[in-house]
């Protein structure tokens, strides 16, 4: 169970023959993911470590029936790669690339949303973009479409995880794993200011998933995604949610690595996020290990 990807997902890798694309294709295969092909324009027809390479996503999809694409294309071409996949009818597109210009992402995200609406109106399954600048996603025990270390996912469980930060996703997944709880699906949504999928988009999927009992949300300063998530939880969620917010001591106005992790005025402050979660009855952990205690407490209620 879990959401978005599972053992039946057929994955293509855009940029498979590049350094990152190659090493993560291997790691995903080791995890057990059905990686079916690669896409590298100009290298179509090549055999890459047993995988066929195609010149376009459309060709790869036609030949393999792929329904997920993961993108390792360099920043200048990354948004274009997203649009290629979306227009080829791939319903789930995951953009790993870091450093994509924000204006490119604005245009791509808007177009993907339009395609999504058109597809749904026509009775199709829609199009979803996750990322960019994200670690991807893992349904523990089934499939990984991302760059997370395989060895932190040894115990499939029933806790859903959504995070803006790559490293903290690993940290939280390992804590849940070590605590014997394990995870259902981990979704890294990315820390950039403009991303395809937000916390509030993922929460309803977990709410509807029979394989998930509770959800952990790892947020950070900047933006108002956490506040929007809290609002959604307050009005719609029956399953318990536990939160953590990174960067609570960071000074205002300074960009903390993630382009989105910046406090502007009174928007995106730790105080506004804490207040929003409090209002939604979502306990917020002060430290990462405390997440485990809060999840246990929430499940025992």
């Amino acid at each position: 169970m879990g959401i978005l990807v599972n053992k039946d997902s057929k994955v293509i890798v855009q940029g498979m023959t590049g350094r990152e694309g190659a090493s993560h294709s291997r790691a995903m295969k080791e995890f057990g993911t059905q990686v079916v092909a690669g896409v590298t324009p100009g290298k179509g027809g090549m055999d890459f470590e047993g995988w066929p390479i195609y010149n376009s996503v459309a060709e790869a999809k036609k030949a393999t029936g792929a329904n997920v694409s993961i993108i390792f294309v360099p920043p200048a071409g990354a948004a274009d790669a997203v649009l290629e996949a979306a227009h080829a009818g791939i319903p789930l597109v995951i953009l790993i690339t870091e450093g994509v210009p924000t204006v490119d992402m604005m245009k791509a995200v808007q177009e993907v949303k339009l395609l999504d609406a058109q597809s749904r109106e026509a009775g199709g399954e829609g199009v979803r973009l996750i990322g960019g600048n994200c670690p991807g996603l893992v349904t523990n025990g089934e499939a990984k479409v991302g760059i997370m270390p395989n060895k932190i996912y040894t115990k499939p469980g029933r806790i859903g995880l959504i995070s803006r930060s790559g490293t903290l996703t690993y940290e939280a997944a390992k804590l849940l794993n070590d605590a014997g709880m394990g995870t259902s699906t981990t979704v890294g949504i990315g820390g950039d200011p403009v991303i395809g999928t937000t916390f509030a988009d993922v929460l309803p999927m977990f709410e509807a998933d029979d394989g998930t009992d509770a959800i952990v949300v790892i947020g950070e300063i900047g933006g108002a995604d956490e506040e929007a998530a809290a609002e959604y939880i307050k009005n719609n969620m029956k399953k318990p949610v536990v939160a953590f917010i990174s960067g609570r001591s960071a000074p205002a106005g300074k960009r903390m690595g993630h382009a989105g992790a910046i406090i502007m005025g009174n928007v995106g402050t730790p105080e506004s996020k804490l207040a929003a979660f409090k209002d939604a009855n979502v306990p917020v952990a002060d430290t990462m290990p405390e997440i485990i205690d809060l999840v246990k407490a929430a499940l025992n209620k």
Binding site: T102, S163, E220, M256
Partner: protein
Amino acid sequence: MKLHEYQGKEILRQFGVNVQEGRVATTPDEVRQIARDYGDAVVVKAQVHVGGRGKAGGVKFSPTPDKAFENGEKILGMDIKGLTVNKVLVTKAVDIDAGVEYYIGMIVDRNVQSFTLMASAEGGVDIEEVAAETPEKIVHYRVDPVTGLRPYEARAVAIQAGFKGNLNKIADMMVKLSQAALERDAVLVEINPLFVDASGTPLALDTKFEIDDNAMYRHKDLADWRELEAEHPLEIEASKYGFAYVKLDDGNVGVLGNGAGIVMTSLDVVNRAGAKPANFLDIGGGAKAEIVYNAVKLVSKDTDVKAIFINIFGGITRADEVAKGVIQALKDGILTKPVRMRIAGTAEEEAKALLAEVNSPLIQMFPNMFDAAAEAAKEANK
């Protein structure tokens, strides 16, 4: 990349925005000459990348060329929040009382996944204060990233914000501001004050312009505008190595880790341990020993740093590579301050073995981030 006021104005001018005339000077004599050329009162404005330069005495009205010279002398070389003023912008003074001051700005807005146009009749003041105290006085409008702002939308926003004057001209300025933001990959661009004179004509008196660093590759003409002397020296060095680095005030613990999220959390942990982080340094993913070595070198150069806290969760990054980098820094005599680190994940055992071999009291490894941070805090507060 943050642009100076004169640079931001130059871009806006290229997009057809009516910008107040001005020229840059680096000596008081040049300031006087510009004032003479204008034959009128001028304003001498420090060009530094900090807010609140007016309050710090970096903006001065000068009724005569001699007064302009005097103000140039005062402002050039001045220290504003740790940065030296090397350039001033000399602009023709405007009789503010003969018109009204508004605010318009475009900002990347995560919540609408595009730019938001902001407009307020409360111009000429710190807009963040307006946002905090009277948010209803700012109109917010999502701009379509593909089409940009259309004139009819701009007019509607101007009307809603309560702007008076020539609506078509004001809307036209807003449209051009939107074009500049989209085509020049702005993160933020503001015109404040936007001065509207008695005839209703808008004029940009001051601007803030910041460009998306990720898009600099397609603005090579602007890369030459980067003035390294206007940035913190350690931040310049960090950018050479490709680190995300931020110098923090009043800190004593150097903080480095792999990934923005873990470094932010590390800052929180150091604070909880009773010390203050002196910096934020993200070495990125998959760092080899050499990168770690450079990171340690950079943080060690900061005289505020009394101890270093390294927090690594190795996925792609190998713990033994991190250990090798730190050990090499010790061997080369670069590392003279205690390093307390937590390295989990890939090749953790190999890292432990390497450190045991060196056996230096300066480097200690801990099984969790809290103990490592607590020890670093203890060392820093000694």
